[in-house]
């Protein structure tokens, strides 16, 4: 009895599309649907949601049966949790520090934290890179392009 139900990535893929599709259709049905001649705002969302849900079922269905691609894992071979964390933490810090402290700390922290995500990076190399990018960024965006983003909030530079 080797006919065991095996999980495949395509099942996840189909399920995700089904979920988004149904979600969109249900949310969309809350808006006025209208008629074909006078479509309301809900018409397209419901229609597209239904199509997407249907596509999700098709994606999962075509993956049934034996296939050469037996990869059932969602995560890659060597998950880079730390790397992913750093890449996402960088912009989050950019938002927080940007809102409360200003452009210089935001840019510096963003680049520094992102750089740490690489396996070969050291504190020193990341610091140097972050400093370099910050200087370049301030020159380009603050002085040349004049984007409205104070360098340091509360300090008049």
């Amino acid at each position: 009895m080797q006919e065991k139900f095996k999980l495949k990535r395509d099942y996840y893929a189909g399920a995700l599309m089904l979920l988004i599709g149904v979600g969109a259709a249900v949310t969309g049905s809350g808006y006025k649907f209208g008629t074909l001649a006078r479509m309301g705002p809900g018409f397209m969302p419901v229609m597209l949601g239904t199509v997407l849900a249907f596509l999700g079922i098709l994606i999962a269905a075509t993956a049934l049966g034996p296939s050469e691609d037996d990869d059932k894992r969602f995560l890659p071979d060597n998950p880079q949790w730390f790397g992913w964390f750093c890449i996402l933490a960088g912009p989050v810090l950019f938002i927080i520090l940007g809102l409360y402290l200003g452009m210089i700390p935001a840019v510096f922290a963003c680049v520094f934290v992102c750089a740490l995500g690489d396996n070969t990076a050291t504190y020193k190399s990341s610091l140097i890179l972050a400093a370099g990018v910050t200087v370049f960024g301030v020159l380009l965006f603050h002085y040349l392009l004049n984007i409205p983003f104070p360098l340091l909030r509360g300090v008049n530079l």
Binding site: R9, D10, A13, L16, M17, A24, T27, G28, Y31, K32, T35, L36, A37, R38, M39, G40, P41, M44, P45, L48, V51, L52, L55, L58, I59, T62, F74, L75, P76, N78, Q80, G83, W84, I87, L88, P91, F94, I95, G98, L99, A106, V107, C110, V111, F112, C114, A115, G117, D118, N119, S125, S126, L129, A130, V133, G137, F141, L145, I147, F149
Partner: protein, 519 residues
């Protein structure tokens, strides 16, 4: 018709040669060439980062610059393929097959020289095609009512999603997802907020820059981090003098170049078949008709000339449907269309007459840009080769800075940065599930216009869906859609031989973690 084209072109050169415009065109191709060389950076991410910086500019220099990035990146991409065997840019992946063996034989310089000549020939033909074909298409398209526009968009969306890499079903799913993302925001007719979940910032819709940088920036970096090979620079030594090909090489490359150019320009006309498909098709054809197919893969100069010429002619031809019909053929074109809209220009058949300066200026700038690129690449080849060795660990953090500040500068709102992070995470999940994110952008850009035209055509026909079949042009477009779907089902059921050959070539191309998406 030829004489008006020449007058218009003359006017275009006047626009493109204005010092201000010329400067931005130069800047565009320079940046394009740069990101083309750098492994792990693609034109999509670059154009999205530059887009907010053009808000304060006039539309003409802005569009010239952004377009320059696209075709400039094609020149740089070839360097990476030939010298390092790294297909950083999908259209140039096939060039690795013969380009890298040539490099190993010490003829990398010749390969690069041939590439530049092929690129220029291909691009020139693509531009000429655009000059004559676009005004003609416009004449036809001006007769279109909402029903025709709607059906045409359907062709574009379907072709864009099914002909791209990967499973066609998943491609269509991504297009539909893109259309749904395009719905977010206030409804155009009633003002009803849709899918905003009560978030005020979403009332104006999802920011195109946030979508593009999330999908092609953050998701891409998450995919490549600690997953890139160290670049082997062993063979990458090229001097300017090596770049001039011998007479024998030129003779060998001449016809493949012409054939590649023609194939590429043909591919450009079919919506959804961009440069990547063009280069693969032309390589396969060249190998097939060659008297010595066994030389391919071991450093045949034809194997470099043909796909490169076809890539470049297809890249320039890509602009035809975008500029004349307002229907983009691929991701980069979708982004450029978005750029036009942001600059207050309504894309569509009226663009050429209403914004002649943009259209003809753009065409003239293509030529100027291509000449600039040849000049940039020949004497400065050593510099570009040096850039190849910049490690990824310096590249992506710097790129993340540009992503953050670019999204912020688009609307001076930190909310957009958060939106980008969110889209990036979703994008990475989609990537892991083998979804190709390119069609999302296509659906997103066309979505609002598709809905508007769909509503309008049914309003005119009083709710009669037959309007799409009763009108002959619209029926023709729908017929193409049916053919596209039927062809996909046929391929899925029968798996014909040509496809197997295509797959075989694809399998030979070295894989790299980055840049599935750099298209």
């Amino acid at each position: 018709m030829i004489s008006t084209a020449i007058t218009d072109l003359y006017y275009g050169f006047g626009v493109a040669l204005e010092p201000h415009n010329l400067m931005y065109c130069f800047l565009g191709v320079l940046v394009g060439n740069l990101v083309g060389v750098l492994p792990g950076m693609g034109p999509v991410a670059t154009i999205s980062i530059l887009l907010p910086l053009t808000f304060g500019m006039q539309p003409v220099p802005a569009i010239l610059m952004l377009s320059g990035v696209y075709y400039g990146a094609q020149y740089g991409g070839a360097i990476c393929s030939i010298l390092l065997n790294l297909p950083c840019h999908p259209p140039h992946a096939v060039t690795c097959l013969d380009g890298f063996p040539l490099t190993k034989q010490g003829k990398g310089g010749t390969a690069l020289g041939i590439t530049i000549i092929a690129a220029f020939v291909g691009a020139s033909f693509g531009i000429t095609e655009m000059i004559f074909l676009a005004p003609f298409l416009v004449k036809v398209a001006l007769e279109f009512g909402p029903a025709e526009v709607c059906s045409l968009m359907l062709v574009g969306l379907l072709a864009g999603s099914t002909l791209a890499k990967g499973s066609p079903l998943k491609g269509i799913a991504m297009t539909v997802l893109g259309l749904l993302v395009g719905i977010v925001g206030s409804d155009i007719e009633t003002g009803q907020p849709r899918f905003t979940f009560g978030i005020t910032e979403l009332f104006d819709g999802v920011e195109i820059i946030a979508l593009a940088l999330g999908m092609f920036g953050i998701a891409e970096f998450m995919n490549s981090i600690n997953n890139t090979e160290t670049v082997d620079m062993k063979y990458a030594k090229v001097g300017v003098s090596d770049m001039f090909p011998s007479k024998a090489d030129l003779k060998l490359a001449f016809w493949p170049m012409i054939r590649g150019t023609l194939l590429g320009s043909l591919c450009a006309l079919i919506p959804g078949t961009g440069p990547t498909i063009a280069s693969f098709v032309s390589y396969a054809t060249e190998k097939k008709i060659s008297k010595t197919p066994e030389r391919f893969g071991h450093g045949a100069i034809e194997g470099v000339a043909c796909p490169e010429a076809s890539t470049h002619s297809s890249v320039q031809g890509d602009f035809i449907p975008t500029m004349s019909l307002g229907i983009p053929g691929d991701t980069v074109m979708a982004l450029l269309l978005g750029a036009l809209i942001i600059h207050g220009i309504v894309p569509g058949p009226q663009l050429i007459s209403q914004h002649a300066d943009i259209f003809w200026g753009l065409i003239a700038s293509f030529w100027i840009g291509n000449i600039l690129l040849v000049i940039l690449n020949v004497p400065m080849i050593g510099l570009w080769v040096k850039l190849l060795s910049i490690p990824y660990r310096y590249l992506y953090p710097s790129a993340m800075f540009f992503v953050c500040i670019g999204v912020y500068a688009a609307s001076n709102d930190m909310f957009q940065v958060g939106e980008t992070i969110f889209i990036g995470v979703i994008g990475y999940i989609l990537l892991r599930l083998d979804f190709h994110p390119a069609p999302i952008l296509l659906g997103f850009v066309l979505g609002p216009r598709f809905e508007e035209n769909f509503r309008r055509s049914l309003l005119i026909s009083r709710g009669d869906l037959m309007t799409f079949i009763d009108r002959p042009i619209s029926a023709f477009f729908l017929f193409i859609c049916v053919v596209l779907i039927a062809a996909q089902i046929y391929v899925w059921l029968r798996k014909p031989k040509i496809l197997a050959e295509g797959k075989a070539i694809e399998a030979q191309v070295p894989t790299t973690p980055y840049s599935e998406l750099a298209e």
